[in-house]
Every structure is written in structure tokens, then in C-alpha cells.
Subunit: 366 residues, 2 copies
DNA sequence: ATTTAGCACTCTCATATCTCGAGTGCTAAT
DNA sequence: ATTAGCACTCGAGATATGAGAGTGCTAAAT
């Protein structure tokens, strides 16, 4: 029984205690709740009073447990699907469990090595690396995994390169302080010989180098354009291209893996599952949800806590990895509310830590 | 009744005709088959002899139809789910229908304009463009849509650029004749001042410029490395990076949209649906499947014809778009075998044509 | 005050039985 | 070659039934 050791109890606040409750019955109620939740997470079946007292350390009769269960039901921590069934946790129950009762189940050495080994290879290319990490996370947890590429609100433009590719086209390459390179083709109004390019390159870099990505707003571009005078017509296509490229570089990309795992959740009927999958395909909504918190430890959002009707029967666990000074990215899993939080939360934190470290290796030397 | 006009009949070969069959009964059997298939595609329910004869032009009794149906069943074009049910098409039935009976239902002017409008905006950036197109296709057909970025077996390396980004790192940029730009960070053993870079750039371009992507095999790199003598140690990291970048540029990317549509298929039970979704997440397998044929018109693969047990109850329709001289890409949909082929096939061809045209616009001017 | 035994009660699940109707295949007549 | 007539089959849905799990309550015991 991994969850309930003396230490946890000693320091857990007596939230359950109402007038007239003894410390003993207090402890027992917490144990009962934890047991119900863990049983349910494991088997997916409601638990009855009989099975429950087998799992308790002190021998008590089912009737006693039933009283506790009745109380827990009244308080909204558990409920029963129907009269003659056992109890299952409510979302409030899960919340209490995660906050107060659960003991994290850290990864074993073996698991850590496995992850390290799998990710070690792929760490060169940031995009592929995250894809691999995501797939691995999805595989190990049996859930859908989501991650974002690193984003940095303070990210600056390091340099902008121009290279002629055709008679009237140039390749635009924007380098940012997050180690990102974004390229884009741009069609000019004039022929782009080397001299013109050189002038444009200098011009563009004078304007943009060192600026923070978020500064580059349409208004900023507009101001620039005005100040250019005669040159405006020639430079404008370039300005627009730079703007669009930067806009693309500023918001982070989204990676999804293991979506099919969602279909293996029995308590999610196909219609709900479809709604969840549909939700996942709306990148912006998902990004909003992921960027809710900046906590550095994994946080669980249970059912309605996600604030999305589609996810009422799903839980998300989100963790954050750091990259460099200000860069952050998200890694998360999505699954049924009935997931093994003790395990999953640790997994996410470990993944976040590892991803952060591995990506930073590439990054440091600049 | 869009499918069966005189013209189709006149030229459709009398494959059904066995000894003793009249031309009349021949025609009727084909009509019956087509009707059964179209009914089934529309309603998803088996069709009985009674309903069938309402749909036929000549008035015949249900009993006559029943004889025809018995024959069609014997020949394996249709079957009955159980004794007291009507008939549903078999995969062989669909195949015959698509090849001989079906009349393509071309897109209306409105639909064409709608597609043109939606895609018109996004045509700048190839990746985003395809994503939009895919999403639109998924949306309009209600199926899962798949596409690949253009690939070109004859694609050549146009140029390779090197730019210093850090003290010992350079950015490698490979431009290909398909209009693709792939960048990658590369760590050198030596400090990379401008002179070194210039030498390396010349060296690399001498070796690689103009070569066909597929030439760049590990063996080729090996040969190069040997011929370099003293320089090997310095240049090797660069060679490796070039090789990996090119490998990444050579195989096309895969885009998926509308996966959640697969869950709306009632005749696909959740377990099968999961298998299909899982299959979709294996990029390589999917790529293999997509590149089966190089036909320039949309081709349908019905159920087992896909050669994949996971897809036994699914159909794929694949079309090819052309880009430039040798560039091709795929666009496809995946859904239940019970899909509206007459509509979907035309859709795919129209999408392929439009995508090809729009991408080529960007491309031509080089 | 808390715990426990005993018991009546409720509700689901699985199984069995029944009927209804749709759709068929066959036969004999046209 | 077509059709009417008819007996037959089978699945879907409604209804009944029993077993079992689990409860809440009451009254007794600690």
C-alpha cells in the first residue's frame, strides 16, 4: 500500500474533522477515501464496504466502513452509480486525494534509464526530439501526450539573413535567441542582385536585430513603412514577410501523440471520445489550456477543472520545462479522470526535467 | 438518379451476362446492384426487394428482383447480414460499381468557388497551405484527410549555405530544386571564423551542388570523407549534418486532419477505430500505402484492397498532385467502405488539381 | 460515543421467453 | 421470363425472472 504511511497522516490537515469526530475515525475516513480511489483507478469498478475493510490496516467491520462511506458521500467525495453498487470517487474526491493523500510514485532507476536512453539519440533536432519524447510519454502512460515547442516571451531576433534564390525572389531567414530558425520565401518587386540584397540586408537588420519578437506588431511595421519614404515600395514585401515569419516564430508549435490511446478508455463512450479528439485538433484552444499555469511542477486538472465541456470526463496533467533564461515549453498528458495520478504526475515531472536538460545542452554553447 | 443513364449502359461491358441471360435482365441486374449500393451508402441499412423495385424505371415485381438479387449474391457482389435482412454490397460489389457503374458527381460551381476561396489565402507557405487544404478536405467530406508534402525523386541540391551562429556552431541551410529549405544546426570541432566558413562553403558546394538527393547515401559520404585526407576531421561533422538534412528533405512529410471523423462511422466499432487511428500514427506505413500508385486520377482502395488488416473495413481514395517537372505529392481520404465514392473521388481530383496549381504558382518563377 | 450484527430493501445484470415483422426462397401458374 | 402466393427464418424489442451485490437502518454491544 504505497499511499498511506504514518508521515502523510501526521502532517495532513484534519479537514475531515467536524464537531464530534475523533482523530481515529478521521484517519480512517481518509484511508477509506484513498482506498476507494486507488481501487477504482486500478480496476475501474466501484468498491463495496466488504472489500474495503480487507484493505484497511485495523480490522473493522463493514458496517463501520459503511458509516464512513455514507459520510464521504454526504460530503461529496464519493458517490454510487446506483443503489446496489459500491462507491466511486467524484472529481472533488480526486482533488482531495491528489492534494492531500496521494504519495507520488517516483520512477524507478530502470524507467529513468530507459527514458534517458530513448531520448539520448534524438536530442539534436528540437522538433524531432520533442516528437520522440511525446511518443515515448504517450506509450509509457497509455494516454494522449501533448507538448509545445519552447517559447520565450523575451525571445529576441538575433539576425536576419537574405539570400537570392531566383530572379526576383529571396529567401528570408530569421534567427531567434531561442535557437529557432525560420525561413520563408519572399517575392520582391525589383530584381535582386547582390548589391540590392546587401543594402536590404543591412536595412532590415538595422531595424530588427535585437528586438523582442512580441514588439514586431502590425503597428510597428506600419511605422517603419512610413519612415522609409521612397524605399517603401521596394522594401514593403520584405517587411510583410518578416512580420509573418516572426509571428510564426513567436507562437509555439503543438505536438500530439498517442491520440488512439483515448479510444481505449472504457468509461469514455465514443461520442465523448469524438468530442475530445475534435477538441485536440483545435490547436489554439489547446494552447490556451496548456498555458494556464506556469507552475514548475506537474499540475493535474480534473474533469470540469479544465473549464471545457468536452473535457468533463477527462483529466490533464501539465508540466513545464525550462530552456535557457526565459524559455519555457509544456508537456502534458490527457486521459480519463480515472488515471494513475501518483504515477503520471511523477512521469511528467521527470520528462519535463529531462527534456529541459537535453534541449539546453544544444543551447548553452551560443 | 445520378448513376444510371443510358450512355453508361450502352458502353458498359456485359460482364454479368452468362449463358442464357438476356440483355434486359442484364441491364436490370446492374441497376439493382447500383441501387443497392447507393441506398446503402445513403442510409447504411440493407435494402429489400420491395424498396428496390420502387427505385427501378421499369415496373417489375419484387419476385423478379429477388431472382436478380439471388444471382448477385451467388456472384459475390452483395450479401445479406442475416436471413431476414435485405442486401448490402460486398467489397467486390463496390469495386464493380466504382469501375463500371458509378457516374462521377462533379463539384458544383459553388463548391469549386468555395474551395478556391478557402485555399487562395493560404497558398504562400507550402506547409501551412497543405494543412489548410487537408483540413478543408476533411471537413467537406466528413472523412479523415491525409496529404504528403511534395517529393521529387529527381530533386537536386541547388545550394548549401553556411552561416556562423555561435563560436563553434554554424547553421546549415540546404536548398533543393523542389523549393524546399531545410536548416539545421551543426557543431564544428574548430572555431568558425568567416574565412573558415568561406572555405567550407566552397568545399561543400563543390561536392554537393547539383547532385540528386537520393545520391547522397552513407556510402557516398564515406567516399567523400576518405578523399578529404587531413581535412576529414574538420569537415566530417558537416558532412554528417548535410547527410542527415538531406535525408530529412528527401522523404516527404505527412499531414493528417479530421481524424475525429473516423469516430463518427457507426459501422466501425471502437476497437477497429482504435486500430485505424493507431495505424495512422505510423507515418512510414502510411507513406508506403500512399505511394502505391502514381495514377493521376483518384483511385479508390476498398477494404482489403489496402492490404492492411487494420483497414479491412475502411476505404482510401488517393489522388496525386503534380508540382513542377517531377514533383508529386499525395492527397487522400480515409473512411468507412461505405462512403459516397461518386462524390469523394471527384472531390479528391479537384483538390489535387487545385493544390498542384496553387503550389506551382509559387514555384514557377525560379 | 462508537462500533457491530442482522436484516429488509433496492437495483443491476444476465438469462430466458415471446411476439412481431421484415425479408427471403421456392413452387406453381401465367 | 415473370409473377403471385406462401411457408419459413431470423433479429429486434419487450417483458419476466432470479441471483447477487451492496446498501441503510435499527438495535444491541462495547
Amino acid at each position: 500500500m504505497r499511499v498511506l504511511n504514518k508521515a502523510t497522516f501526521a502532517c495532513s490537515p484534519r479537514l475531515f474533522l467536524k464537531r464530534g469526530g475523533s482523530v481515529n475515525s478521521e484517519d480512517r475516513k481518509q484511508r477509506v477515501l484513498a482506498l476507494i480511489i486507488e481501487q477504482y483507478i486500478q480496476t475501474g469498478e466501484p468498491t463495496g464496504s466488504k472489500k474495503l475493510c480487507e484493505g484497511l490496516p485495523q480490522a473493522v467491520s463493514p458496517a463501520t466502513i459503511r458509516n464512513d462511506m455514507a459520510w464521504l458521500t454526504d460530503m461529496g467525495y464519493i458517490n454510487q452509480p446506483h443503489t446496489s453498487a459500491g462507491r466511486v470517487p467524484t472529481q472533488k474526491g480526486y482533488r482531495y486525494y491528489i492534494d492531500r493523500l496521494m504519495q507520488r510514485q517516483e520512477l524507478s532507476r530502470d524507467e529513468q534509464n530507459y527514458i534517458g536512453g530513448m531520448l539520448g539519440h534524438a536530442s539534436q533536432n528540437p522538433e524531432h526530439f520533442l516528437e520522440t519524447a511525446c511518443a515515448l510519454l504517450a506509450d509509457m502512460t497509455g494516454l494522449a501526450a501533448i507538448s509545445t515547442t519552447p517559447s520565450d516571451k523575451q525571445a529576441k531576433i538575433l539576425r536576419i539573413e537574405l539570400m537570392p534564390t531566383g530572379i526576383k525572389t529571396v529567401l528570408l531567414l530569421v534567427m531567434t535567441s531561442t535557437g529557432l530558425f525560420k525561413s520563408r520565401l519572399c517575392r520582391l518587386e525589383v530584381e535582386a542582385n547582390y548589391e540590392v540584397i546587401a543594402i536590404l540586408r543591412k536595412l532590415i537588420n538595422d531595424y530588427f536585430t535585437g528586438r523582442i519578437l512580441r514588439e514586431i506588431t502590425p503597428a510597428f511595421i506600419q511605422t517603419l513603412a512610413v519612415s522609409l519614404g521612397d524605399m517603401t515600395l521596394i522594401v514593403m514585401p520584405l517587411l510583410v514577410a518578416v512580420h509573418e515569419t516572426i509571428r510564426g516564430a513567436a507562437d509555439s508549435q503543438l505536438l500530439l501523440e498517442g491520440q488512439s490511446n483515448l479510444l481505449a478508455i472504457p468509461e469514455l463512450d465514443p461520442i465523448e471520445a469524438k468530442a475530445v479528439l475534435e477538441f485536440l485538433s483545435h490547436r489554439e484552444k489547446l494552447l490556451t489550456l496548456l498555458s494556464r499555469d506556469e507552475k514548475h511542477s506537474a499540475a493535474a486538472y480534473i474533469g470540469k477543472e479544465n473549464g471545457r465541456p468536452e473535457l468533463n470526463a477527462s483529466s490533464m496533467v501539465i508540466s513545464t520545462y525550462k530552456l535557457g533564461e526565459n524559455g519555457i515549453g509544456k508537456i502534458a498528458v490527457l486521459g480519463s479522470t480515472r488515471m494513475d495520478y501518483a504515477k503520471i504526475i511523477s512521469h511528467l515531472d521527470y520528462f519535463a526535467k529531462t527534456i529541459g536538460e537535453m534541449l539546453s545542452q544544444n543551447f548553452e554553447e551560443e
